[in-house]
Symmetry: C2
Subunit: 366 residues, 2 copies
């Protein structure tokens, strides 16, 4: 490994000068600069990032906490976050918590402020208290997909109006003429300060409110999705459809369960969208690629990732290492809100069949 010192020796200057030319800091004479650059090239010098991190008091990485990168939403987010992070020379360390509090805690404990300059969190519920602690200790933290702009989490965050997303889904179904629908609502966290519907409370409430506002329509049933997966949606949808065969549409608070609901419908002999409409939330890649393509409320994932990284950087700049350890600015933590979600109608939703169409189709079931 070749070090700054070696380069300096080779160029007949002092390490400080080399450092200066490499980072365009102090003014350096054109001649020496040439000599240094030459030596750098010749020796194949590459700065030791860990050493630099120590000296600068700041590491060139962000930690990104996700519940599981296997859930297709997160790779999309991760990709965007990484791109954004790279613009300031930061690397991204992925931390899969698997929705396990201990794992999340362990990551934060080790990484925050020591190997990572800041922390991006997509699933804050489980480690909320730890995040507060980290933040108070002076390491910037940003919650990346806060679901309720109207209810700030008490930490810096980027919020997406998921209540509106739910409302848009409801409106879409209403517009198509659906009056009896079922809802599959995802719930995993049992964190107390969240709605009884867990982390998808806002998505659920937005849907319910809007749908009920239409006098003649009703939400026939709500079923909890045990897991935010295709399988979870499949199981929940089967139950719901069995218990309430008269619904003409299903709303799911996330795309994966919505996709699962489509499969369930298919397996029960219902054709989507003719017999049953299905609408989800997020617009992950797969929603475009499923058959039929999933109607869903698109959420600005990339924008959220970019905003989160930007916010993180601002926090870092605002609280330079000088003030590390200080509680930092005591004002209310900043919140950014992304642009609004938008309904993306695709092939999984259609007007409900008329009564006798339904009768016919019902006969076909099972």
């Amino acid at each position: 490994m070749t070090t700054l010192n070696e380069v300096a020796a080779h160029a007949g200057v002092t390490p400080a000068t080399v450092s200066n030319v490499l980072r365009n800091r102090g003014r350096v004479g054109a001649a020496t600069r040439e000599r240094v650059l030459h030596a750098v090239k010749e020796l194949g010098y590459r700065p030791h990032l860990a050493a630099r991190a120590l000296a600068e008091g700041r590491a060139p990485t962000f930690a990104l906490m996700v519940s599981s990168i296997a859930n297709p939403f997160y790779p999309e987010f991760t990709l965007a976050a990484e791109r954004a992070a790279r613009t300031s020379g930061h690397f991204l360390i992925v931390c899969n918590t698997n929705d396990d509090q201990e794992t999340g805690r362990a990551y934060l404990e080790q990484i925050a402020g020591t190997l990572s300059e800041g922390v991006l969190v997509t699933n804050a519920e489980l480690v909320f208290d730890d995040l507060r602690a980290i933040a108070e200790r002076g390491t910037p933290v940003v919650l990346c997909m806060w679901e309720r702009p109207d209810d700030p989490p008490g930490l810096p965050c980027v919020a997406v109006d998921f209540r509106l997303a739910g409302a848009l889904a409801a409106q879409h179904l209403l517009d198509l003429g659906h009056t009896r629908v079922g809802a599959l609502v995802g719930s995993k966290s049992s964190h107390d300060d969240l709605s009884p519907f867990g982390i998808h409370g806002a998505r659920r409430d937005g849907f319910v409110e809007r749908f009920n506002a239409a006098g003649n329509a009703r939400i026939v049933a709500e079923f909890i999705c045990e897991a935010d997966t295709i399988r979870g949606g499949y199981d929940a949808a089967r139950q719901l459809l069995k218990a309430h065969p008269d619904v003409t549409a299903l709303y799911a608070t996330n795309d994966l369960p919505a996709l699962g609901a489509m499969h369930a419908a298919a397996d029960m002999g219902l054709s989507v969208p003719d017999d049953l409409s299905v609408v989800g939330i997020t617009d992950i890649q797969l929603a475009r690629e499923s058959r039929p393509a999933l109607s869903t409320v698109a959420v600005p994932t990339e924008e959220a990732a970019r905003m989160a990284v930007d916010l993180l950087r601002e926090l870092i700049d605002r609280a330079p290492r000088a003030s590390r350890g200080n509680p930092g600015n005591t004002g209310t933590p900043p919140m950014r809100v992304t642009s609004a979600p938008v309904m993306v109608p695709r092939a999984s939703t259609a007007p409900p069949r008329t009564q006798d169409q339904r009768t016919r189709s019902s006969l076909r079931r099972r």
Copy 2:
């Protein structure tokens, strides 16, 4: 931020002692150990990983290079790799190269050996030379999904027998009685020392060889998949099916294109598997979750990830930081081969229709 020194002062010992108790190194008296531990707890001390990295000459991270984490194979691999890495206290830095040589190079240049103790590479083609350079410089590198066990890359690697995978897919189709099939072969890299079919050469050759070995069967057409995506498979399949409507089955060298082929079939009025069988390779999560579920050759992804991480660690131990800069052991680089891929028949493959069934079905097309 509380440092080792502060803990030491608080405990009335010297930093060396604190370090010792924290890492169970030098023998420390039970009493002092207690005192130190107490101080650590009281002050909320957390070791500064960047500082430790510098002092130890080794960073607690691995870099994982992937072409794009958005391709669903990689998250699965990443998850497994992260788990394995954690067992030795390593974090994973994800490096999305987007199949761009410059990006890959930039990552390696910066990270390898300075912020990462080792490099895991899933897609070596583009940065092969750089990897060699890195390795020679003394930073361990492992290629994670080498496709041809019989043709070692000249770098440490974990190989999966993809030729066999192709053969298994062929055998499956043969067993079902297919005699006229099409092949969708993925190709992206144009690296010279690879087959004309790019990085999927082994998968293609294995299939072709086995299929042709059955005298009465033939591969009617091979089409190149421009992109290793659902869309790429969709486009290629459409073309192939249009040009060769008589094939009864499609083989794709990866699951995503296979999924796309199923969609293409659906859009062309062909039912899978009745009119057309489709088989892929890998067995990504999505293969299980598609409708119909995709028949595919399962590749031991998790095992590969684990083996890769293990191998990387061995290389690190073998070439301790003392010998950094030395070419290291000059023998031929180690290669590990995972257990064999296995055919997983699911709903997307079936025996071909008999002649008049086909005629009927053909009429339904368009």
